[in-house]
């Protein structure tokens, strides 16, 4: 059975905006480690944090986050 995972384009958006992880973290009001783990897909952010990150880039949340179907293969 396939499992849904969360993918993101956070790193691309951040680099495009010319921000470091620490600067983005400060804009959103979280730790740099949180930004790092979200970028790496280690940490799944809450809806509030996902929307805050999207707002920081002026993009809709779907532009940053998307679902990946993982069939375990």
């Amino acid at each position: 059975m396939s499992e849904l995972k969360l993918g993101n384009r956070l790193k691309e958006a951040r680099v495009e905006a010319g921000l470091t992880q620490a600067e983005l973290a400060m804009n959103v009001g979280v730790s740099r480690k949180t930004v790092n783990t979200v970028e790496n897909g280690v940490f799944v952010p809450s809806t509030t944090l996902a929307l805050s990150l999207a707002r920081a880039f002026g993009q809709p949340v779907e532009a940053l986050f998307y679902l990946i179907e993982d069939d375990g293969a």
């Binding site: 470091t20 992880q21 620490a22 600067e23 973290a25 400060m26 009001g29 979280v30 730790s31 740099r32 480690k33 949180t34 930004v35 790092n36 783990t37 970028e39 790496n40 280690v42 940490f43 952010p45 809450s46 944090l49």
Partner: protein, 233 residues
Amino acid sequence: MVDDEVLALARRVDARRKVALVILLFGLIAVGAGLSQFSPGDPKRFSPLATELTIGGGVAVVVISFIVMLMSRTPIEARSGRVAMMRAEGMRAKRNTAFMLMPLSLGLMLMGVIRSLNKTMAGGMVEHIEVFEVCAFIIFLVTFVAILSGQGLDKWAKPVLDDELSRQIRAKALGLGYLVLAVGLAGLVATSLFDRTLTIDLIPVVAAVGVGASSLRLFWLERAAGGGDAGEA
């Protein structure tokens, strides 16, 4: 003031507060040593004058260092914005080192605590130093649990030290500690059927292993969450 100046000022205030905290702890130790003289049983004790001086001196040190801590107010500019974030990130790294060292300090105290409990179970008299050792172990254990569960964080540091990731990591670490404690307590119940002295001896071991497992898990998870562009900030 520019950010670097605010940061330097905040570091000086933090250093003063830390020194006052260490002196305060020494004061508390003196008060504890004095108060332990009133525990019954042990005929060896300080003279009344020495006891009064120890408690009085300890209380004076505690009061003075507490006043110094209250007066060491961090500048308001260092409690918000970029400087607050930088200070909180620095604090996070120090807290992680503390998580790594917690099991070591509990382990060192365990030897004295087990010896004291073992002696009491064998019918020996409780000495003042043993009351002191056991109380110190309990205080450290409770303090470590409070730190691990994120109690007492400054409001300005919460966006970094109490954000979503931190709370998730803490929950995982405390979950492991709870599991270790539950298994340990089940083991103690089983052991009590056969050997009560051993059961009493093992109580502080189970408590220390439970808290130690949480702190090491927290250290490991915090470390694993690092990396990225930390050097660029």
